[in-house]
Symmetry: C2
Subunit: 570 residues, 2 copies
C-alpha cells in the first residue's frame, strides 16, 4: 500500500481545521445537575431530579417521542384523562385483599410487594411505577409485585390469569411510548429484583442473565472480559436488558452489531398462564421449528414476560476514532456514507447525520464553538471502532483524503483526544436539547429509506412556510425551525420541529401529515421506540390490515384472556 | 505499534512451515466431473451427473445429514415406503382435470405447468421435483406449477386452500432433510420462474429480490456493486434465496454476518388462503408490532410461501487471508479461538475446527500432502476478510506470533497465494468426502455449547470402542473412525462416523444416543439444516413440549386446513 501523501491539499485543509479546532465545545449541553446518564441512575433519583426541573426533563433524551412541548406541571395527568376514549376493561377483576394475601404467599418477603390495597400506602409511593419519566402517562395501580425468581413470576401470572387480573410488566420504566406503566389499576410486575447474571462464556461471548439486570451493569460485566453488550443507549443506567429485548431497543450500536433479532440467542419467558417457556439457548444455530422467541422480541410484554435472556456479545474494540464533516448536499452525504462503508468497512461503527439548522440551533443554544469554520448545508459524524489504533487511523486518513480530494466532503476535523472526541459527539447529541431552548419540540422518530430520508425535513419546511407558521427570526411565528438529524447508518431520522410556544395549529399541521408522508415511502412511524400507548392508534401507517389481523391472532393465541399489558400495542 | 520482529522463533518456524508447504494439496478432493458447485448449476444437469455416479453424489456436500451410507441404487425408494407409518391425509383432495384447467387459467403459459394429470407426462419428468438430490426421498406428485408472479402464487394457493389440495413449496430443491419434495401427491409449487431482482440500493446495501433468484446470482449481482450476499453455502449455484430464508440457511458467512433473523429486513409472503402479506420493508428499524416475518424465516414453507425478500448486504471485503494451525488439545483450540476474536476482531471471518482423525482421513483418501509436518491432535483454519490487505496481514502476523510464542498453537502456515489458500480450505472442505472413501458415513449436524463441543466426538469413540464396533485398521470392524470438525465459530459440529459397510448395529448404537447426548447439553439436533421430514420425529430433543405445543398453534393459526408442506416439520 502506498504511503499517505500527507501534504495533499485536502489533508492540509484538514490539519488547518484541526488547528482551528483548539477550543473544544463545552462538554455536553445538558445542565450539569441533570446529565442524561446520571439522570437515569435509579428511578428514585430520577424522579427527584425531574421534579426539580420538569420543564427540560422531557427533552434530555435524544430519542424523545413526538409530544406537545413541555410545560411546567405540578402533577402528571392521568392517562385515562388524556385518553378519554379509553375505558377500563370490565373483564378484569379489581385486586382484592385475598389476592394480595395470595401474592404474599408466592413472593414471601414483604419487600417484594408495594401494597396499596390492604394498607394506606400513599399515592406518591406508587408514582415511580405509575408514571413514566417523560411525565406523559399516569396509571392508577395500587399493587406492585417484585418477583425474585422465574418461578415466582410464573406463580404470579398463573394466579392473575385464573383470576382475570390485568398486569403490566415493568423494567427500568425508561420507555418513551407509555408501554411500561399501567393505564388503570393493572398490577405492576416489576422485574428489578430478578437481576443475576447467570453465566458468561468468554470464548463464545454468550451472556445469560436475568431480565432485570441493568443494561450498564451487563455491559460492564462483559466489559471486564473484553466484550461489549451489543446494545447501547442513553438510558443504560436505568433500563433493563429483559425490557430492552421486549422493546427491541435499537440504540447506538445497531449499525455495527445489528438488532436484537440477530443477537438474542435465547429467551426464558413466562406465558400468561404461568407456563415457563424455556428457550434459553446459547447456540447461534438451531433450526428446529418456528423461532418463537422472535415474537417476544419487540412484543412489549403483551404475550408473556421475559425472565432471562441469552445474548451474543461481540469483542470489545480497543481503538475508537471520530471525525466530523461539512458537506454541500444530501447527495454528497449519501456519497460519503457509501465511501465510508467501502473504505472503512469493518471498522465503521457510527454514521450520524446533522443538518445545518440542527448545528446552528446547537451553536445558538449552547454557545459552543462549532468544529468547522463557515457553514455547510449538512454535517456528518463518523466513528470507527477496531482492534488496532494505527490501522484504524490509517484507514480513516485514507478515507478523509479521498472524500476531501474528491470534494465529497467540503471540510472536516478528526478528534485527536478524548476531549475532542466528546466535543464532536456533543454536536450530535446536543441537538435534541438545543431545540428546546426557545420553547418546545415536536419530535418524531422515523425510519425512511435512505434516498428519501432527508426529503421529509425539506417537505416539512415547505409545508410550514406555505401555511405561514414558521419564521426563524420573527417571534410572532410559532415554529422557529425544522431540523433533521439521526442515525443515517440505520436510515433512522429524528425530525424535530422547534417551536416558540405550544400551538394547536402546528400540531394539526403535523399530524397525520408526517405519518402519511412516512407511510407513502414504506417507512416506519416508530423506528426504535415501539408502539406502547402512544403509537397504538397509528400502527396502520406502517403495517397492513393483514398483518395487524395476524398480530391480533398471535396475541389471542398466547394471551387469550388479554391480561398482558392491556390497552396498548396493537 | 512496534514493528514485527520477524526473526522471532515462532515466525521462523512459520516461515519454515511455509517453505515446506510448497506443494499445494490437490485442489479439492471431489471427482473432477462432479465439483460441488457445478454439480448444482441446474437441476437438470445435477440429475444427469448424479445418475452417472450415484454412489458418491450424496456425500459431496459438507453438510450432508445423517443417513445410511450410500449404496448404488437404480431407483430412489418412495418416501411412503421408507416411512410406512406415514399415511396420506384423507382431508386432501386428489388433483382433478378441472383443477389443472383452473391452474392453467391462473398461470397462463403452458411452460408454467408440468402436468401428469391430464396427459401422459412420464414419471421421469417429475423426478427432479419428486426426489431430492441425496436420493433419499421420493414423492408421487403429478402436478408441478411454476408461477411467475406473486399474484399467481396467490391465485394458486387460494384455490388450493378452497379445494383442500396439499402443496409443497420448492426452491432449488437442494435441502438435506426432505423438506422440499412431496411425500404423496402434493402439488409442487416451484419458485424458479419468480426470479427477478427488484431493486438494490448501493448506499444502504439493501437488496429486494424475488424468492426464486439463485443465491449465486444474487451474490454476483450485489458483488458488481461491491457488496456481498450475507449467506454463502455449497449449493449456491442451485439454491434460491427465498428458500434460503424459509430454511434459515446458515453456511459459511454466519460467524461474521450473523443469521437470517438479523439480516432479512422484510418479506413478501403468500398465506395459504391466498392473502399476500406485504412486509417487504427496506428498513433496519421498524418497531411496530410483532415481527411476523421471523416465523417465516426457518418456517420451511409450512405457513405460507415466501415470494420476495429484502435483505441487508454487507460491504465486500477486498483482502482475504487464510492460516492453518496444529494444536495440542481442544483447550488450546478454545484459547486460539478466544485470541483470534480478540486480536483479529472485526476481520475474523471463519474459524474452522478439524481433528487429527479428520485430517488423517483426508490425507489417506485424497493423497494430498498436509500443510504441516508431524501430527497434531487438532487443526484450525482461520480466515480473515477486511478492507485493507496490509493491515489484515499485519494483524494476522501479530496474532500468529502471539499464539505461537505463547504455545497456544504448535505449528502453522499462512497461505501466500490463491492456490495455497484453496489448498488450505481443501483440508477442511475435503473431509466430508474423505470419510466416504471406505464405505459410507453417518453424518450429524449439531449445535453444542462451545466448551463441550468436542466431547461428543470423544464420547462417541469411547462408545464404539466399548461395544467393539470400531477399529481403524482391522477391516472386520464396521466403524473405521469417528471424526469431528465444523464451524467452531458458530458452535456447529459435524460428527461423522466413517464406516466400512452399512450396519444396523452401528445405527442402533448411534441413535438415539447422539440426540440424547446433545439434548443433555441443550444443544440442537439440527444446527442449520432444519427439520423437514428427516428430523420431524426428533424435535423433542431440542424443544420443550410447551414450545412444540405453541408451534402447533402457530401452524394452525396460519394454515388451518394444513395444506402447506404436510407430513413434515413439527
Amino acid at each position: 500500500m502506498p504511503t499517505l501523501h500527507r501534504t495533499l491539499p485536502a489533508l492540509r485543509r484538514l490539519r488547518l481545521a484541526n488547528a482551528f479546532f483548539q477550543q473544544p465545545a463545552r462538554l455536553r449541553l445538558r445542565p450539569a445537575a441533570q446529565p442524561l446518564r446520571s439522570l437515569h441512575s435509579s428511578p428514585q433519583v430520577r424522579q427527584e431530579e425531574k421534579k426539580a426541573s420538569p420543564t427540560t426533563s422531557a427533552s434530555s433524551a435524544d430519542h424523545a417521542p413526538q409530544d406537545a412541548p413541555d410545560r411546567p406541571q405540578s402533577k402528571i395527568k392521568y392517562t385515562s384523562d388524556s385518553y378519554p376514549d379509553l375505558k377500563r376493561d370490565s373483564r378484569f377483576k379489581t385486586v382484592s385483599k385475598e389476592d394480595v394475601e395470595h401474592f404474599k404467599k408466592i413472593l414471601g418477603s414483604e419487600a417484594a410487594i408495594l401494597d396499596g390495597v390492604t394498607n394506606e400506602t400513599g399515592e406518591e409511593d406508587f408514582e415511580q411505577y405509575n408514571s413514566d419519566w417523560m411525565r406523559k402517562y399516569r396509571g392508577q395501580c395500587r399493587l406492585v409485585l417484585k418477583p425474585e425468581t422465574t418461578e415466582q413470576v410464573s406463580g404470579v401470572l398463573k394466579y392473575c390469569n385464573e383470576q382475570s387480573l390485568a398486569v403490566v410488566p415493568q423494567g427500568g420504566n425508561s420507555g418513551l411510548v407509555g408501554g411500561s406503566v399501567p393505564v388503570f389499576d393493572e398490577i405492576v410486575i416489576n422485574l428489578s429484583r430478578l437481576n443475576k447474571v447467570r453465566s458468561f462464556d468468554d470464548v463464545s461471548g454468550v451472556l445469560v442473565a436475568d431480565a432485570g439486570v441493568i443494561l450498564q451493569q451487563a455491559d460492564e460485566y462483559v466489559g471486564k472480559q473484553n466484550h461489549i453488550f451489543p446494545l447501547d443507549l442513553g438510558a443504560k443506567g436505568t433500563c433493563q436488558i429483559g425490557a430492552n429485548v421486549a422493546t427491541n431497543a435499537g440504540g447506538l450500536r445497531l449499525l455495527r452489531y445489528g438488532s436484537m433479532h440477530g443477537n438474542v440467542l435465547g429467551l426464558e419467558c413466562v406465558l400468561p398462564d404461568g407456563t415457563i417457556m424455556d428457550d434459553l439457548s446459547k447456540l447461534r444455530k438451531n433450526n428446529t421449528g418456528y423461532d418463537l422467541k422472535q415474537l417476544f422480541i419487540g412484543g412489549e410484554g403483551t404475550i408473556g414476560i421475559i425472565t432471562a435472556i441469552s445474548i451474543l456479545c461481540p469483542q470489545r474494540s480497543s481503538a475508537v476514532n471520530v471525525a466530523y464533516f461539512g458537506l454541500e448536499s444530501y447527495e454528497k452525504v449519501m456519497e460519503a456514507f457509501k465511501e465510508a462503508k467501502k473504505q472503512l468497512g469493518e471498522i465503521l461503527s457510527a454514521f450520524e447525520l446533522m443538518d445545518r439548522q440542527s448545528q446552528s440551533l446547537y451553536h445558538q443554544a449552547s454557545g459552543a464553538k462549532l468544529p468547522l469554520e463557515g457553514e455547510h448545508p449538512f454535517y456528518c459524524l463518523i466513528e470507527t471502532s477496531g482492534s488496532n489504533t494505527e490501522h484504524d487511523s490509517e484507514k480513516l486518513n485514507a478515507f478523509l483524503e479521498h472524500v476531501m480530494s474528491e470534494e465529497i466532503v467540503s471540510d472536516g476535523v478528526v478528534a485527536e483526544s478524548e476531549t475532542q472526541l466528546q466535543s464532536l459527539w456533543a454536536c450530535r447529541e446536543g441537538i435534541s436539547e438545543a431545540g428546546q431552548h426557545w420553547g418546545g419540540v415536536y419530535k418524531y422518530d422515523l425510519s425512511i429509506p435512505l434516498p428519501e430520508l432527508y426529503s421529509l425535513v425539506e417537505d416539512a419546511r415547505k409545508m410550514f412556510e406555505s401555511n405561514g407558521l414558521m419564521h426563524t427570526e420573527d417571534e410572532t411565528f410559532p415554529v422557529k425551525d425544522v431540523v433533521g438529524y439521526g442515525h443515517m447508518g440505520d436510515s433512522n431520522l429524528h425530525l424535530n420541529v422547534a417551536t416558540r410556544r405550544y400551538d394547536k395549529e402546528v400540531e394539526r399541521a403535523l399530524e397525520p401529515w408526517v405519518y402519511e408522508w412516512v407511510a407513502k415511502r414504506q417507512g416506519s412511524i416508530s423506528a426504535e421506540h415501539g408502539l406502547g400507548l402512544a403509537k397504538k392508534a397509528f400502527i396502520g401507517y406502517s403495517r397492513s390490515e393483514t398483518m395487524i389481523r395476524l398480530m391480533g391472532k398471535i396475541k389471542e393465541t398466547f394471551d387469550p384472556k388479554g391480561i398482558m399489558n392491556p390497552y396498548k400495542y396493537i
